[in-house]
C-alpha cells in the first residue's frame, strides 16, 4: 500500500501530520531537539507568551496525582520580544508551522500581543490562551465567561491576519456555549482542552501540595473529559478542532480525531517520553496502513453516527 496521507489543514495552518505540541510542555522547541526531529512535527505550539517577561508562581509548582499531574507554573516566560528575537529565529530553521500561545491580564494585552506578532516571519498562527487556571488576573477569568471570551477573540481578530485558534477551558458549565461564543466572535479554530482546575493536599505537612494551592490537572487522568469536550463541540459547530488532554499513544490521538479533532496536541506525555510526538506520528501512520485508510481526513469525526 502507498503511504497514507497524514496532512491536515487547521484554519489555513498546513500541517504535514496532525501532531503538534501542547503549549507549556515543549518549551520553545530547542529543549526537546536532542530527542525529536522538529521537522517531523505537524506544528509546534510554543510556551505561553506575555507582553512582558513574567516571573511565575513560587515552587512547588508541580505535584503528581493518579495518572496525572497538577501544575501551577503561573505563565513564567521571557516575554514576546525574547520570543521574536531568540526563540523564533531558532524555530525558523525547521520546516515547521509555529503557533504562538498568547496570554494577557487585560483585553488590551491580547490585542497588543496579536499586533506585535502579526506579519512576523515564521509565525503561522496564534493560540489564544483564555483558560490558564494558574494566574490570578486574566487567564480563566476570560475563559469561563462567553462574553469576556468573545471580547478577547474580537480584539485579537481585529489586530492580526494570522489564523486564530482559541484554547478553551473545561472548567465551565457548557463548553459548547463557550465554543459558540468564540466562533461567533471570529475564532478560526479551537483547541481543547486546557487543564482542569484541581488540588492536592500534602497530608504530612497538612498543607496544599502546591504553593499556589490550586493547579491545572493534565495527563491520562483527564483524557475522557477531553474526548467528550471535543465530541460535543464537533457535533455543535463546524470549526477545526485541535484536541488534547492526556494523549500518550497513537491510540489516544486517534480517539480525539475520531471524536472530531482535525489535529491533536501532545502535552504531559513529553515529560514521560521525550519522543512521544514521534512515536504517536509513527503509530497513526501504522494504524492507517493496517486499517487501509488512505487519508487521515476519513477519520476526522468518524465516531459520530
Amino acid at each position: 500500500m502507498i503511504k497514507p496521507n497524514l496532512a491536515v489543514d487547521v484554519a489555513g495552518i498546513r500541517m504535514k501530520n496532525p501532531v503538534t505540541t501542547a503549549s507549556g510542555t515543549f518549551g520553545f522547541g530547542f529543549e526537546y531537539a536532542p530527542f525529536v526531529d522538529l521537522n517531523r512535527l505537524g506544528a509546534i505550539v510554543v510556551k505561553g507568551t506575555t507582553l512582558l517577561p513574567r516571573r511565575g508562581n513560587p515552587p512547588p509548582r508541580i505535584v503528581e496525582t493518579p495518572a496525572g499531574i497538577l501544575n501551577a507554573i503561573g505563565l513564567q516566560n521571557p516575554g514576546v520580544d525574547y520570543f521574536i528575537e531568540v526563540a523564533l529565529p531558532y524555530l525558523r530553521q525547521f520546516d515547521l508551522p509555529v503557533i504562538v500561545n498568547i496570554a494577557g491580564d487585560t483585553v488590551e494585552d491580547y490585542a497588543a500581543l496579536a499586533a506585535r506578532l502579526d506579519g512576523v516571519p515564521g509565525v503561522a498562527g496564534l493560540e489564544v490562551n483564555i483558560s490558564c487556571p494558574n494566574v490570578k488576573k486574566g487567564g480563566l477569568a476570560f475563559g469561563a465567561d462567553p462574553d469576556s471570551a468573545a471580547a478577547v477573540v474580537r480584539v485579537v481578530k481585529g489586530a492580526t491576519r494570522l489564523p486564530v485558534v482559541v484554547k478553551l477551558s473545561p472548567n465551565v458549565t457548557s463548553i459548547v456555549r463557550l465554543a459558540e461564543a468564540v466562533v461567533e466572535a471570529g475564532a478560526d479554530a479551537l483547541s481543547m482542552i486546557n487543564t482542569l482546575l484541581g488540588m492536592a493536599i500534602d497530608i504530612r505537612r497538612r498543607r496544599p501540595a502546591l504553593a499556589n494551592v490550586m493547579g491545572g490537572l493534565s495527563g491520562p487522568a483527564i483524557k475522557p473529559v477531553a474526548v467528550r469536550a471535543v465530541w460535543q463541540v464537533y457535533q455543535a459547530l463546524k470549526v477545526p478542532i485541535v484536541g488534547m488532554g492526556g494523549i500518550v499513544t497513537a491510540e489516544d490521538a486517534l480517539e480525539f480525531i475520531m471524536a472530531g479533532a482535525t489535529a491533536v496536541a501532545v502535552g504531559t506525555a513529553n515529560f514521560i517520553n521525550p519522543r512521544a510526538t514521534m512515536d504517536i506520528i509513527d503509530g497513526i501512520e501504522k494504524f492507517l496502513v493496517e486499517e487501509r485508510v488512505s487519508d487521515i481526513q476519513e477519520l476526522i469525526g468518524a465516531a459520530h453516527m
Partner: protein, 264 residues
Amino acid sequence: MVADIPAGVVQQEQVGPGQYRLTLYAPVIASLAVPGQFVYIRCTDGLDPLLRRPLSIHGVNRERGELFLLYQVVGRGTALLAARRRGERLGVMGPLGRGFTLPEPGRRVILVGGGIGVAPLVFLGQELVHRNNQVCLLVGVRSADQLPVGKKGYTVPFDFAVATDDGSCGHHGSVTDLLEKVLAGEGVDMVYACGPRGMLRQTASLLARYNVPGEFSLEERMGCGVGACLSCVCKTAGKGGEPSQYRRVCVEGPVFPAEQLVWD
C-alpha cells in the same frame, strides 16, 4: 548530549533503612557524566505514577559502563524503583543538568552531605581526589544506621566525619556544627553541599560569615527534566540590584553557587 535509553539493572542493593544503591549498565551516560549531574529515570512502565524520578549520579565505572545511583525510598515512585531487579530495563535520560565547578588541583575542599544528599558528593569527592585536591566529607544523618558511607563496599578515598541527631555515631548534633569547626580553622578553599533545605540554608549563612565560596546541589519537584515545563524552579538573587528570579533546577542547576540562592 543527552540520551533516552533502556538501561539494564546490574545490581539493586539495600544499604540502609529505605536506602538503596542501584547499578545500571548505561555506558553512554557513564562516559559523559560529571559530578553533580543527574539522570531522569522511569520507575515503572505504567502511567501511574506518571513522572520520572530525578536521581543524582552517585558514581560511574567508565570501564564497565556502569552508573551508580544512591537513593532513599520516599514515595510510590522510589518504592517501585527499589523493587526493580537485575536484568530488568529502565528508561533513563541523562546525564542532565550542570554539575559542580571543579577547583584547581591542590585546593582544600569540604563536602557537606545531609542524609541521602551525600549521593552526588561521593562522585564529586572521587573526582576531586583524582585531581589532587584535599577532600573531607562531613555527613549528617539522624542515626548511625542511616549512614550511607563508610560501610562495607562504601569506603571512600577521602576523610570523612559524621554527625548524628541521636548521638549514635560521631558528633551528637548537626553537620553544620562540624562545618563551623572546620571553617573556624584554617584554609578551606571551597565547600560543596547537598541535603535538606534547612541544612543548606545554615551552610549558606556559615559560608557568608567565613567568606568561603560554595556550591549547592538542589532538589525540586520536576516535570520534564529538560527545561521545558518550568516546574522545578528555585529562587535566585537578581544581578546588580534586579529582583530575584526563578531558575530551572534541571538545566540551570541542579548545582548553583551558594551566594546566588534566596532562602525566603
